[in-house]
Symmetry: C2
Subunit: 140 residues, 2 copies
DNA sequence: ATCCTACAATGGACAGAGTCCAAGTCAAGA
DNA sequence: TCTTGACTTGGACTCTGTCCATTGTAGGAT
């Protein structure tokens, strides 16, 4: 799915070596990295890339709708490159691993107008929490 | 609903003036305060209470299951004293206000076993996002 | 191919939220 | 009242993330 770079360029995103590396890191293993993890992987390819640049690039990708920001806990935000396929998240309460999941049903439809208090409801996020297999084994 | 203090004492929670004040702040207006907001209100009643003590007390109340920790965004966690009535949250994307809501349906049941990847799923959080009436008016 | 310039990268200082710890204080049982 | 283990304090520290002045460069214009 490496037309990400094409899409970005087509949208007038000025392509620099730093931005390319950040986009490639996200486009790689389909995991949910924190900003510092993205930075660490970017540094492997472009040793002098700065933290600020990674934060900037991530913020832009989020604004462009190419990446979703996920705050699963009070700790670091994670970046989910799977923005074009609606999905929810399953988070390990112990190690913080995140997996994409596809529940049945439409939670938006489950919120009746009487429970909306005049809000303009735009989106819904569902986060399932539990223990991943390896943490469950470790705590047994 | 001020049997909160009774419940805590009955569970062997050593009652100090600081803990009492924190519990009373949460037991007051039924809003979703950040730790620093709790601290600010606690200081009004007990001027020398420290931030660390408020954090400790909040953490203990969460462990005891009396209060729920809500991380709605990457900012400060909020503390929800309505732990004994299952509910979900409706968050204003602009000002961060949180309201409790009660959607129909059971999202836990919507996650088929094939989408659980061996996790022991224990809980589900649903966060509706949108604009509250006053922010919607301001941005119009 | 070279020049220009607006946009991007840098890195260090700064800020917000939260944790840690050694020393002092106190609730509550004996 | 005494004792003691649990609690509180406040300041230093960590972790995430943001800001900004300076330096560098992508990519259109010539």
């Amino acid at each position: 799915m490496s037309d990400l770079l094409e899409r970005l360029r087509g949208r007038g995103w000025r392509m620099t070596s730093q931005r390319r590396v950040v986009a490639e890191v996200l486009d790689g293993d389909h995991v949910h990295l924190t900003a510092d993890e993205v930075h660490a992987r970017a540094v492997e390819r472009l040793p002098e890339i700065s933290r600020a640049t990674v934060y900037n690039a991530l913020g832009e990708l989020v604004s462009l709708g190419e990446v979703i920001e996920v705050s699963t806990d009070g700790r670091a935000k994670r970046y989910d490159p799977n923005a074009h396929h609606p999905h929810q998240h399953l988070v390990c309460s112990s190690c913080g691993t995140v997996r994409d999941v596809h529940p049945a049903g439409d939670p938006l439809a489950d919120l009746p107008a009487t429970e909306r208090f005049g809000f303009t409801v735009a989106a819904v996020e569902v986060t399932y929490r539990g223990l991943c297999p390896s943490c469950a084994r470790a705590s047994a």
